[in-house]
Symmetry: C2
Subunit: 189 residues, 2 copies
Amino acid sequence: MTTETLQSSRERLLEAAATLTYRDGVGIGVDALCKAAGVSKRSMYQLFESKDELLAASLEEQAADYVTALLPAADDDRPPRRRILHVFAQAETQASAPDFQGCRYLVAQIELKDPCHPASQVARRVKENLTAFFRTEAEAGGASDPDLLARQLILVFDGASARAGIKADTRAGLIAPTVAALLDAADMR
Amino acid sequence: MTTETLQSSRERLLEAAATLTYRDGVGIGVDALCKAAGVSKRSMYQLFESKDELLAASLEEQAADYVTALLPAADDDRPPRRRILHVFAQAETQASAPDFQGCRYLVAQIELKDPCHPASQVARRVKENLTAFFRTEAEAGGASDPDLLARQLILVFDGASARAGIKADTRAGLIAPTVAALLDAADMR
């Protein structure tokens, strides 16, 4: 195959992996992934060592969009408290999409049940970066215990996403007061 | 088969379903379930209409133990606030087990990705009962908004269980102050 064809096959496999594992779970078969991508299994194994590596690469590729969709712009000059609330407002908007099944970086780890899986490691790193954002803002906002507040916020983030994914709660009027209570308890400006 | 044999096969299938779906996910095959239970597929289909029904029955059967392990005794006379904290302390103990993968009633729903699946419906009912416990205690403890507090508590419960299941957080020093902040924000006695 030409480099160009390989590149296009790679992109289609990453896209198929992102879409199908989110919709059907990480147990989705290689055959289904290759079929959806219109790529032969032979080509897939030229591009990725294994399905596990494909999953990991697919989560890695989605990470930039994930972060951009959630975080405030770097030159956003609102106070830390507002910047934190921005993340939860964005997450709430995402969760209202009819095909929302929870944060893909949480769901993948739950389904893989193996913290050492390459895709779990990618997912964990993405969420650690989100936790680090919360921690930086907590510190900038004078939180009494920035570490604790950051851990509380990612806990609420994951809980809200998991529960929205299973349609357990409408979320209406839930997240903002929950986050506000934790920010207040930390004396966050 | 005699009624006794059928009963024993049923119990072994329920046990295998509980153990294997928790360990490996809901995608576990009928063959693996029957093999682990030492029951023929023919017998399985005499006892359960489908694997979906077996999963649902297995979650149903675990429910009583789940509730007993988490909730305070009915004649427990501690104040509501302490009764709520008891649930989180119990959950924290469970989460420290090496094979803990998160609350089985949350994980099953996330993996099934279908709120109409019979097993999702069982799981949802079990968690709704836990939410109802929180609501009753919130009201008894004079919470300013018992509905909101109950939704916040189940959100933290699920978030903590999901994150413990993926080994994302040690949980040490996290849950008690988080729950306390929410109880305080609700002016809970």
